[in-house]
Amino acid sequence: MGSLNTLTVRQAVDHLEQGACSSEELVRDLLSARTALDGTIQGYLQMDGERALAEARHADADRKKGRRGRLLGVPLAVKDILNVTGQACRCGSRILDGYTAPYDATAIARLRAEGAIFVGRTNMDEFGMGSSTENSAFGPTRNPWNSACVPGGSSGGSAAVVAADMALAALGSDTGGSVRQPAAFCGCTGLKPSYGRVSRYGLVAYASSLDQIGPLTKDVDDAALLLGVMAGPDPRDSSSVEALVEDYAAACGSDLKGMKLGLPRDYFVKGLEPAVEAAIRAAIERCRELGAEVVEVSLPHTSVAIPTYYIVATAEASANLARFDGVRYGFRAEGAEDVLEVYAKTRAQGFGPEVKRRIILGTYVLSGGYHDAYYVRAQKVRTLIRRDFEDAFKTCDAILAPVAPTAAYRLGEKMADPLQMYLGDIFTVPASLAGICGLSVPCGFTPAGLPVGLQVLGPAFGESRVLRVGSAYQKSTDWHRRRPALAAEGGR
């Protein structure tokens, strides 16, 4: 067929069910798209074509035998931070060289149970630490809309392969914006579920109290479909929550009648790129036309969210990454004389500079004498930020906001100044700290031709609401259907 790679997941499911194509054909088209494009984009770290084809043929055979499954034979790309049995799982780091996952993450197991196959591993900032995918030990991924620009991060590989039609959909993980921001930069749809909605078991931990697995897709309906499969409590993750898993596909309607949408005045401030603001304002107008009432809300602690995030996340990371010591798995440095040297050399050679920076920062904020001033205080501020949202959701059903203050920037532009890079997360980090859900949908382009993302935030376990807003918006716009020229070329 030649262009099955451009399908959405739901279209692919329909094709497969109607016998319009086979899983093997789908995978073949993905492999050719990758061959054509990924030399430039570098979205995948690994893709075992033969194995992917074998699994696709297996799914096709299963279908002939009468097996059904919501995702039978659907190929998915997976961020390099999720454990998939038998696959490498390097988290964009040298320190996990040689590690092969001995088990499936719960989200993977649930998708697999519905017949999904996992065809490739996508690039990322090392251990999720970064906003541009430039912190990958294996080189940066490039933005399909402009290869001189970053794809965002840390799930930059996942966003890029979806945007460039090298995948139907991908899994990412979001700790402070790592699904939403690359989705915005690459012009695809990204969902960060509420904390506890999707099991974290098998997701390599960066900041345990913030991490969530989320889908990066071509539209909101696909995000709803994948969330529906992955969501729900898991006995292997004590932080997963019993809260009702709703019918997310059914939530995806086409109007916003009766909905109240909040605009946080604290998000429309200096530093917001005018082209981004214009696109967001236009999207808000469109929501109004779809029947929503728009009200102003206040999130007064927004300005302290970044420092709070960098204390909480790095503190947890300093402990979470302690296990990478060269003793049991992964990379071990040569030439160590004793166990302390094994640790020191392995970690010095195995981790990149941003990871080291955050481990040191996290160790510092937890250390004796500083613990109360930093960590304890950050937890208190976190409570205030959570309350900001609780208060806001008393007067609105969902919040509309930009995903990031700017569109994608050029590679190298912010690498020299980590603080500038951190500030780019200002609109995504508060929702992470509050544990609420957030959706990023394409809502326009800058004059330079780079995508802009609209963020829809909902209360904890209010995924149905954000999906409803995103879906209605997408049904009346076509931003999400636009494809970068690069991808169009590759589709030949």
Partner: protein
């Protein structure tokens, strides 16, 4: 000047759960290295801990038994430090919200005095693996990593190595009573860190604290404390400053040696474990567990005295160890004279067990057999010396006492006619002694009884022999 010594203990107890604290791996000892492991207890990337509810229950039951306050809200924390035996390079422990607070353990303070040693807290944490050092390389066995450990921390309430030893014995006894741990010292089920200090008499605040880490025998604690307190006393007498430090006991040298000073102490950077939810214990749950507490030594003591009519002292000895108490309880239940059972257990049984360093649970004399043996002696089917011999045989071989007596022809002769005939013969053969008795010489009767016993090869019922002799000699001798 006189000096006071102060001792506190931190005891780590391996809980008797079927699976580890955060995964489903088994906890049994003796498996080949790294065969009781999984991605969770090896700290593989992406894995998460899931709390073993049984470990919580056992810790709370221990707290209830020792009179602790049970925290309605408690949480787990990460204790950060690098060591090869630690799969995650942090240990999941409890920092500021332990499961149990306060409580005490009564110890025998010598001379029959009882002293209460107060507890600070009891918390739950995971064990680490074990480093195995070979000639040119080292390995780690993670079978023990993630096994639940309960840490019991005392106040500095003990004053002598003897008291510390008594505390450990008393604690072990209580833990065995509750069945929360096997308390097997060889397998490292009970390990402790010892804190001690000295100060001049009259000084209120404690002296500089020295910690001795990782003791795994009670005797070791005793000798290490003796050494360390002597060292400290010697130091203060000669004006040397004692530094706050951690030391290790070196059994070969018979001395403690410095490990690290306060300046080198770890900064564990505790913070709440984000992967586990806080433990919230509703009062109804705690009360249900309290109601399920087994009978404890003190209650057992009181019941034994009341139910079996045995003296207070006997009841205390029998109730001291759960296994002995259970044995006695079973043997005494349905016995016509429980006091006799108590005598057997407290004398013959405990003596022989001590000689062999045996556990009563491994004893071949079943409670039913002991009850039968006591009954045989009571109805005088055998005399008391024979009974002891039968016990000795049962102790070695087990079996049924009546069968032992029958097989060896040891039954006591209570046939009146036969014993009467023997009495006649003895009086005829010992006319002088018979006359002596008639003249009031009491000792002569004992001699005559002895002769009847000799002729019967010891089987004659001594009381019946006495009766028959007195009947025949005409008048009672002596005043009895």
């Amino acid at each position: 000047m006189k000096y006071l010594t102060t001792i506190g203990l931190e005891v780590h107890v391996q809980l008797k759960t079927r699976s580890k604290m955060f995964c489903g791996c088994p906890t049994g000892p003796g498996a080949p290295p790294n065969t009781q492991v999984c991605p969770v207890c090896l700290g593989y990337p992406g894995t998460l801990p899931v709390m073993n509810g049984e470990a919580i229950r056992l810790t709370v039951m221990t707290g209830l038994m020792l009179g602790c306050a049970i925290s309605p809200y408690s949480k787990f924390d990460r204790k950060n430090y690098f060591y090869p035996d630690m799969p995650k390079n942090y240990q999941i422990s409890q920092f500021d919200k332990p499961l149990c607070l306060g409580g005490s353990v009564e110890i025998d303070a010598g001379g029959g005095a009882v002293k209460a040693v107060r507890l600070t807290r009891i918390h739950l944490e995971e064990d680490v693996g074990k480093c195995i050092h070979q000639a040119r390389r080292s390995g780690v066995d993670f079978n023990r990593a993630g096994v639940p450990l309960m840490e019991i921390v005392t106040e500095p309430d003990m004053e002598t190595p003897d008291e510390a030893f008594a505390f450990l014995l008393a604690l072990k006894q209580m833990l065995l009573y509750l069945g929360v741990s096997d308390c097997n010292l060889e397998e490292g089920n009970l390990r402790c860190d010892v804190n001690c200090s000295v100060r001049p008499e009259g000084q209120a605040e404690l002296g500089t604290k020295v910690e001795i880490k990782n003791m795994n025998t009670f005797k070791g604690v005793h000798v290490a404390l003796q050494y360390e307190l002597d060292r400290q006393l010697e130091a203060v007498r000669t004006g040397e400053r004692i530094v706050q430090e951690t030391r290790r006991w070196e059994p070969e040298a018979g001395a403690t040696a410095p490990m690290r000073s306060k300046e080198q102490a770890h900064d564990y950077r505790y913070f709440p474990e984000p992967d586990l939810m806080p433990v919230v214990l509703p009062p109804a749950q705690v009360e249900a567990w309290r109601a399920a507490l087994p009978e404890l030594p003190r209650q057992k003591r009181e019941r034994f005295a009341a139910q079996y009519g045995i003296p207070e002292y006997d009841a205390r000895v029998l109730a001291a160890q759960k296994a002995v108490a259970d044995y006695f309880d079973e043997a005494a239940r349905g016995a016509s004279n429980p006091k006799l059972i108590s005598n057997w257990v407290m004398t013959e049984m405990l003596r022989r067990l001590a000689e062999r360093e045996m556990d009563i649970r491994d004893c071949k004399v079943t409670p039913a057999a002991l009850r039968e043996l006591a009954a045989l002696a009571e109805i005088q089917a055998i005399n008391s010396n024979t009974a002891k011999e039968v016990f000795a045989i049962l102790f070695e071989q087990g079996g049924d006492p009546a069968a032992v007596v029958r097989e060896r022809g040891w039954g006591q002769n209570s046939d009146g006619d036969a014993i009467g005939a023997l009495a006649d013969r003895v009086i005829a053969e010992n006319a002088k002694s018979a006359d002596d008795y008639r003249r009031g010489k009491e000792a002569a009767l004992k001699f005559l009884i002895g002769q009847v016993m000799r002729l019967s090869q010891g089987k004659a019922n001594p009381q019946m022999a006495t009766e028959k002799l007195v009947q025949r000699l005409g008048r009672p001798g002596g005043t009895g």
